[in-house]
Amino acid sequence: METPLTQHISINRPSLNLKDYVSVGGYQAVHRAITMAPQEITKMVQDSNLKGRGGAGFNTGMKWSFVPMNDAAQTKYLIANADEMEPGTFKDRLLLEGNPHQLIEGMIVSAYAIQANISYVFLRWAYNKAARLIRYAIDEAYAAGYLGKNILGTGFNLEMHLHTGIGRYMCGEETALLNALEGKRATPRTKPPFPQVSGLFGKPTIVNNVETLCNIPHIINKGADWFKSLSPGADAGTKLYGISGKVNKPGLWELPMGTTMRQLIEEHAGGMKNGFKFRGALPGGASTDFLVEEHLDIKMDYKSVAAAGSRLGTGTMIILDDHTCPVGFVHNLEHFFAQESCGWCTPCREGLPWTEKILLSIENGEGRPEDLELLEMHTKYMGPGNTFCALAPGAMEPLQSGLKYFREDFEKHINEKKCPWR
């Protein structure tokens, strides 16, 4: 089984420096890419069916193809979204700390494909080890001529900067991220215009997730068909899957896209801890719908998880066990979303704290029977299309599916006027 993303990552030794990275074939994709036309690279990435690993799952090459390519003199930007902050998600940290040159190489090739001359790594403040390593790796790449002016004698120029954020979930939303980079509050922007046309400082901009960008060098080196062959299912490539919660071995694994939830939990995470029973899981971070026992054999790819009524999201799963109160679990999620709402649009700013308060009162045994209808109403009012960005609709996903799959537990809280788990 091939593990292109993590093959050179080991927790037992420091990440590869430039010399070692080159000795295992690193930066070959840059040498190859500069012999190709930019559009050829975009086409290749599009054909590979690489989909955005940040959660949205949009075809990466297609995203790039919307960048206007007719004005060679125009400033364009490429940004690596390394603001990993989706609760329960810890996958990009491994790539950032484990092999920073792989990300930088992916960014150089991607920037060349859209002919961007300025790039940023937008990194979460908490990942300070990654910050040190990336800063060092960027310096090495400049010294070796992979960054800067006239890269490898091609006339292509690329500057790369590291920006460390100062904490706000909203910064992960790509247009809010652009506002943060411009020194503003990280509120989302109206789309259209899409960032591909008018992004950072009004210039064409591509924002891609770290895991997405780390796949690029391998696609360039080995081709679109190879990338598709890595997955047995409809979606291409490998995926970093993670599990947290009451399992024997919580962790992170690079596996073929489409590995089932049961395989992940039983084979890789060593099953549930003794005395704990699986009740459900959020398959890809806090903003995804619960999946339950009947879904254990579905493939964890974009299409299959969507068909089961949820989203693959970030592919890092949080498990709900039978010793954890589902109402408390959902309340914790809605507390997070209410706190992180940027306040820009009314349904989200007012609606999320309301759901949080209702859930807290149910958890404390003060819920009323009509509260469940009230919560359901909120899942509709804050559903897709009613808010400015995807934060509130994402927040409603675990709530609506929690009400569906764990309704008896909600009702028990209300009828018994207490939390049965306390």
Binding site: P87, F90, Y127, L181, P250, G251, T324, F329, N332
Partner: protein, 154 residues
């Protein structure tokens, strides 16, 4: 008043961006690094240097979780209160911290040794519960482990 060193660092950031005020978040970080927090006086001095109104800079400063507009202690404890740490029992860690330090979330010990803050997911969920003290991440926390860790911070 900004110090010469602060101005030098801020101007370095300004040179990297096409619009002066795009560097205002960096400026806030730089001054906070030097002074521990952003007082009204600091905010006004930065705003003047950035050609922004104090109100505009305040709107930015108060948006982000880790710009402190109130004084904080010498060491900042950021306890993850998000979902994986909830499942793995962060509430017990919080109770222990409360009992040991006699402060709640958002408070600072009277000797200014610690400020305790809740923090969204720290991205180490396979080792929950976790917290950070200043720049250091601590994983798989237990109360005993926490007692040992706290001793390291004076």
């Amino acid at each position: 008043m900004l110090s010469a060193e602060e101005i030098m660092k801020i101007d370095h950031e300004i040179a990297l961006v096409p619009v002066r005020k795009a560097a205002c978040i960096e400026a806030l970080k730089i001054v906070q690094d030097h002074r521990g927090w952003i007082s009204d006086e600091s905010l006004e001095a930065i705003a003047t240097h950035m050609d922004m109104s104090a109100e505009e800079l305040e709107s930015v400063a108060t948006f982000y979780n880790l710009i402190f507009r109130k004084p904080v202690g010498r060491n900042i404890i950021l306890l993850c209160d998000s979902i994986s740490c909830y499942v793995m029992g962060y509430e017990k860690i919080y109770e222990h911290l409360e009992a040991r330090l006699h402060i709640k979330f958002g408070e600072t010990t009277p000797d200014a040794r610690f400020t305790l803050l809740p923090n969204p997911c720290l991205g180490a969920c396979d080792h929950a519960p976790v917290l950070m003290i200043n720049d250091d991440l601590y994983k798989n926390l237990t109360n005993d482990k926490l007692d040992e860790i706290l001793k390291e911070y004076k």
